[in-house]
Symmetry: C4
């Protein structure tokens, strides 16, 4: 089976997730600037989520670009990732209703953690099917960014019950770390004539 | 007429269905874990629906891959399938409002049953246009999984009025049965040089 | 400019319209069958709208298949059509709130009428750019179905203030007339080697 | 990296934005024409937004058509543009709730302004990567329309606190200015055999 339809489906779902999040963003109350200021935290969570989903789209794009084969496990790992990403709009609504409080902020971290685990599973599944593709395997071999993300999310979930703002700082740090696109794969692709897609 | 645009349209609609379901998922009430636990059944219905729609996407993909011709009947059978799948988010909202109670759980089964009938119709319509395509016809000739799904959904609808939880167990069993992708078609495609898509 | 991106964008918007309509469908009230029966008219409007949008997708597909050139006018006529189609979910919500009553049912007819006018404008714009494409021009030359649709919608809007049910019967009649795909174009394409897409 | 997936993702997000806006459009109240008239301003904002997003789609299409290379900066400038466009449905909901009043109308101008800045950034980023592509650079070299848009939006935001209607007139004027598609690029593409896409 080719990877084209998987890529198109994933792009579609991610494009929808990133766009319908806005339907869950809470309106500012009242008619003055104090209402706007009160809505600012929700808006920041929205912006952070937009960037997070954008990062997944970007990295998914890079990884699939270097991929040549997909199988059933890759399909289901991908669907698992999409399942958890699909809950991001839900968490935005939850935070909009309940405010920057421990439970929804921990829930946000849980959704980000499971998404990251889904991405890791997908990565492993793709490497397993593309064993002969040295570029891909070597490129994502020492995935310290992935492990650091998991640690950051777990720390955030724990901190949420102490101070939800520290938890948000954890999630934000992980996002900033990823804002640099994964140049490891890009660089190796550039030097490997085989993987030109 | 080619099958490309039908595939793209169906993928688009299924990607949207699977993603907007989250807009219908009910928020947990209150600020403590008991509210989360009370929301767990809705969440399980959401997860089950996500998997069900994912299964349709996957099987639709396999079937269309082995298809070479489509006609008007195929188009309308496909639209009939999409109509019933489009009601899955509606049922999630209904269950979120009314709880795991007989009527919405029977309604869920009804939507799943009509979706399955739509898929069966689509299958028959595709076989009728691709009569010379022995791979496809033989591959889905003895469609015991399809018949078992219909039986499972009908049983679920009946059980919903006795215990909605037994009904959900019926729907879940059907989903688990389908989680194994339809290797019958895959296997035959692998041995038939004609159907390489 | 090619027609590919226009087709993809239109398919995307139509796929989204047909799918998000369900978010506007009103929940049945109460926990018994009487609540379901009371919701039946809304559900019928939903089903009729699903079929109508499906018909537009189908006919748009046929028309664009026979098209070779698009220009700025075609782009804006297409956007005008999509604008009015985008209001279909809104009308479903309106009918769900206000019931099968004169104003929303007339509004439904108005949206259908303007969509049909948009389609007619698009048709004319496409013919104007594809003057050398005899197949297309001849095929949709005597567009009695289009004119009958406009008449049916205008009649429906007028009747809505007498009886909204007669108005719905008008809209339904137009839909049934279109359920037969436009075989005029299909037939001519089949006999014209130039237009194979 | 190719531009294909960026184009497809952007088209997807813009198609979703333009379509889900309707979910945020407020229903007319009551059952008579006075309710409809009261809803007219919201409807006009909806129509203006539909046209604005359509203009972005159209101009993005023209610009990407003349583009040959994209890089990380282009990706992020594009995501920045999409972020601000994604807030258009939110502003429609806000105006629906709060009416044509200073704060939401200024907020609408702010979202339009930031979208325009995002488009300008994207334009600069694309020119930077396509330095050898004289067609593109010359074509959008003297971008007076872009600067006039920024001025119009800033004026609108300021006027919103005097009279929101004057602000809306500013936003409308910008939209009308853009309704003429960017023929500068089209014309040059027509005379440059290299950039045929």
């Amino acid at each position: 089976m080719g990877k084209g339809r998987l890529e198109a489906f994933t792009d579609g779902v991610i494009a929808i997730i990133i766009t319908i999040m806005v339907l869950e963003l809470k309106l500012p109350e009242g008619h003055d600037v104090s209402g706007l200021l009160a809505a600012a935290p929700s808006f920041l969570v929205y912006a952070l989520s937009f960037v997070n989903v954008g990062i997944y789209w970007n990295n998914h794009h890079h990884m699939l670009h270097a991929t040549r084969q997909v199988n059933g496990t890759v399909l289901w790992a991908n669907l698992f990732l999409l399942f958890w990403l699909s809950l991001v709009p839900f968490v935005i609504r939850w935070i909009g209703e309940a405010g920057i409080s421990p439970l929804p902020i921990a829930g946000y971290g849980f959704v980000l953690l499971l998404s990251a685990l889904g991405y890791t599973w997908l990565e492993r599944a793709i490497i397993a099917v593309n064993r002969d593709n040295g570029v891909l395997a070597m490129a994502i071999g020492s995935d310290w960014k992935g492990w650091l993300s998991l640690a950051g999310y777990i720390a955030g979930i724990a901190f949420a019950f102490v101070s939800p703002w520290i938890a948000l700082a954890c999630y934000l740090s992980v996002a900033i770390m990823w804002l640099v696109p994964d140049r490891r794969i890009e660089r190796r692709i550039g030097t490997d004539p085989d993987s030109a897609g």
